[in-house]
């Protein structure tokens, strides 16, 4: 027998992810919903010896056609795949969270309400009459504090109880007036139809004018009379604002529930959140505060990830190299194998793996920022400035997410309402320097700017933001004209980041990095190594090898930018499958070149670059063609190959121009 399936539904910021992590622990996996790039999280949970599947639906405010997230959630709930729904409610924000609940009740599903973060509400002197709430909503209500595991057992008891019931309780929300008349009328029509979902719900959605449901019905097997009734309804009522009346009725119900079941203090408690906001959203301090937070984040990333821990990782890899080499020699392995493993695999992939501590700290800090509630403030303080570049504050969140990885950065553009905003946000995201580029910068920083790591990184990231904004403006005036979409965003209270969430998020990213090192980067380095040792008749790693000849052919292209050796040109192209391969390839090629001298990658780079060319190379890396995964996600999100091709070419051109300008102007001014 299949496991019983529990779906989690709730608003963004309701603590749904924490709830999910609390239930499933490490036993979860992340994928995509079929056909779309909306993230799908599934996990397993065992209670009293029985295993349950838990499905985490995207965080949404409503179930309609507003966004892909909402459509995914609605279609999933309609599919009846879930046996029971746990609706996570932010206890401090009960009216708006109950708005979503009213729609779940309309769908006639078995639901349990988890009144989450009750501790936070208690701090604000908000009290609850749980029995009353449960009675009014006609569903079990359980107070919970997900990150402490409070209420989890009671939730599972309620789940077992609800699973035993034949059907869901009746919906306690009753519409009135003209809207009710139309809903009743439609329901009568749908009752005789062969529909997979409740006639009542379908009727409400038709009167509400939900385009997603209309589309679903046009694909359903409706009788011509029923189809005609729908068409006529829209013909005569297109200018009536029934949808607003329906929202008002749902809110009236939510307000009634809150009035009777929630006791609020006379005077609102001024929270610590309010005090922090006074500073971080101040019109003068807001943006400098943001810059300071980012600068601090990069300083810490570098100080801990590179200077404190980086050495250990490097020593570890080096030790491993020596060990493996002597092992291979002792079993008298053939020379080519020793060369491949030591110069190719260990120097190449090792050069990437050395940066695991750095990446770990970066993702840890980005995760802390994300979990703290600061991101919404960053969007707020940047809204004005973003508007002058033709975008809006929410687009800035996609940009910050891009600092970790451009793929989720681009996916998050989905939360924007207009196509114009989405397209521009996707096309500029690659200028947000991602974690995979960090190893490249750190090698050059170690070679030429020791001790100034945080500052150099900050300058690079800031350059990325500036270029992104300028390109946004240009796109806004050329390819995608129009006003930026409207900005509406919840500012959740600041919360102490929850260790479990931050660590899980960090681990997902770091393990992704390690997996890439073992797969894509290993493959790229292997191919590069192979090309660098054939034909066997020439000196390996020299310009006479196949790779050397390809590089030599490409070199004139990059000479105006100052990096004139074939190794450097080849490494840039190796970075297109995955950015880490730039360092991997350089590490492999230089290790081969300086084999006998035992020269480290950093020393090799010092011999091949100058301060000026190091800068032009880093800027090229910052701006040029993003990795294959990014191009792939752009193709998927835009459903076209035209846009990723455009992205690949324009970023390359831009990176090249910037690197050339830096080198040429720098040389003229006498820098080297």
């Amino acid at each position: 027998m299949r496991n019983k399936r529990i779906a989690l539904v709730g608003n963004p910021n309701s603590g749904k992810t924490t709830f999910f992590n609390g239930l499933t622990g490490a036993n979860q996996h992340v994928g995509n919903w079929p056909g779309v790039t909306v993230e799908k999280k599934e996990g397993k949970f065992t209670h009293e010896g029985k295993e349950y599947d838990v499905i985490d639906l995207p965080g949404i405010y409503s179930l309609g056609a507003f966004s892909e997230d909402e459509v995914v959630a609605m279609e999933y709930i309609l599919s009846d795949d879930a046996d029971v729904i746990i609706n996570i409610i932010d206890a401090s924000n009960i009216e708006r969270n109950l708005y979503l609940t009213t729609q779940l009740l309309e769908m006639g599903k078995k639901i349990i309400l988890a009144l989450n973060m009750v501790d936070e509400a208690e701090k604000r002197n908000i009290k609850f009459d749980i029995d009353k709430l449960s009675e009014l909503l006609n569903a079990p209500v359980i107070p919970t504090v997900a990150h402490k595991g409070r209420g989890q057992d009671q939730i599972m008891e309620a789940v077992l109880e609800v699973l035993d019931q034949d059907k869901a309780h009746d919906n306690p929300l009753i519409y009135s007036g003209v809207v009710a008349h139309h809903i009743d009328h439609m329901e009568e029509i749908f009752k005789d139809q062969d529909l997979n979902y409740s006639p009542r719900w379908t009727a409400i959605k038709i009167v509400e004018g939900d385009p997603a449901v209309r589309k679903m019905l046009s694909e359903a097997n409706l009788s011509p009379e029923a189809q005609q009734a729908i068409d006529e309804f829209y013909k005569y009522h297109s200018s009536d604002n029934f949808e607003l009346e329906i929202v008002d009725s749902r809110y009236a119900f939510a307000n009634k529930v809150a009035e009777q079941g929630v006791i609020r203090p006379e005077v609102e408690v001024v929270t610590r959140s309010d005090k922090i906001d006074k500073i971080l959203t101040n019109k003068y301090i807001g943006i400098p505060a943001f810059a300071l937070i980012m600068l601090l984040a990069f300083q810490i990333t570098f100080a801990i990830g590179e200077e404190l821990l980086g050495g250990f990782a490097a020593d570890l890899i080096e030790g491993l190299g020596v060990l493996v080499e002597s092992l291979l020699i002792s079993i008298s392995a053939p020379d080519w194998l020793v060369a491949f493993v030591v110069d190719g695999a260990i120097s190449g992939v090792g050069a990437v793996v050395e940066f695991v501590p750095l990446i770990t700290v970066l993702y840890l800090l980005l995760g802390l920022l994300e979990d703290s509630g600061y991101m919404a403030r960053a969007a707020y303080v940047w809204d004005d400035l973003m508007r002058s570049f033709g975008l809006q504050g929410k687009a800035f969140i996609s940009m910050i997410i891009g600092f970790g990885c451009n793929v989720p950065g681009i996916m998050s553009a989905r939360t924007l309402d207009s196509r114009k905003d989405r397209m521009i946000t996707m096309l500029i995201n690659p200028f947000m320097s991602c974690g995979a580029k960090l190893p490249i910068y750190s090698v050059f920083i170690a070679a030429f700017f020791p001790g100034k790591g945080g500052l150099v990184l900050f300058a690079l990231y800031a350059t990325g933001i500036i270029v992104a904004l300028i390109m946004a403006k240009i796109f806004n005036n050329t390819l995608f004209k129009g006003e930026p979409s409207y900005f509406i965003m919840e500012l959740p209270p600041y919360r102490l980041p929850i260790a479990k969430n931050v660590i899980r998020n960090m681990w997902n990213n770091v393990s992704g990095f390690i997996v890439r090192a073992g797969t894509i980067i290993f493959s790229v380095v292997t191919i590069m190594w192979f090309l660098a040792v054939v034909p066997g008749s020439v000196e390996p790693y020299s310009q006479y090898t196949l790779l050397g000849r390809i590089g030599t052919f490409l070199t004139p292209l990059f000479r105006p930018a100052g990096f004139g050796t074939w190794q450097e040109s080849v490494a840039l192209f190796a970075g297109i499958p995955a950015k880490e391969a730039v360092v991997g390839t350089l590490g492999m090629l230089y290790a081969g070149l300086y084999m006998e001298e035992g020269v480290q990658l950093v020393n090799a780079i010092q011999q091949h670059f100058t301060q000026l060319t190091a800068i032009s190379y880093m800027v090229m890396v910052l701006l040029y063609t993003p990795c294959a995964a990014v191009l792939g996600i752009v193709a998927k999100e835009t459903k076209s190959f035209k846009w990723p091709a455009f992205l690949a070419i324009y970023t390359f051109a831009l990176g090249w121009v910037a690197a050339v300008v830096i080198y040429q102007v720098g040389s003229l001014l006498g820098f080297s």
């Binding site: 507003f66 924000n93 607003l244 019109k283 809006q392 919840e490």
Partner: protein, 73 residues
């Protein structure tokens, strides 16, 4: 007397009377809690987006959008 949300100062309150925006934007505002009669308190109103409080929970609104919300007493 009806006022635009952007005309109110910090600390003032009002109730949503109507929203004069496009259909999609209006519905989203309603769904986010700016429905008829909702009580709104202005938390911040200077040159950037407006921050309002709905039952003690903060929402930021772009100025353009905020000016389309008409408040009554």
């Amino acid at each position: 007397m009806d006022k635009k949300l952007t005309d109110l100062r910090e600390g003032n309150t009002g109730r949503v009377d109507k929203i004069v925006a496009g259909r999609g934007a209006t519905k989203r505002l309603y769904e986010m809690g700016f429905n008829t009669g909702a009580r709104i308190k202005i938390v911040k109103n200077d040159n950037g987006p407006v921050i309002v409080s709905l039952n003690g929970n903060k929402v930021a609104l772009g100025r353009g959008l905020a000016s389309k919300i008409v408040l009554g007493e």
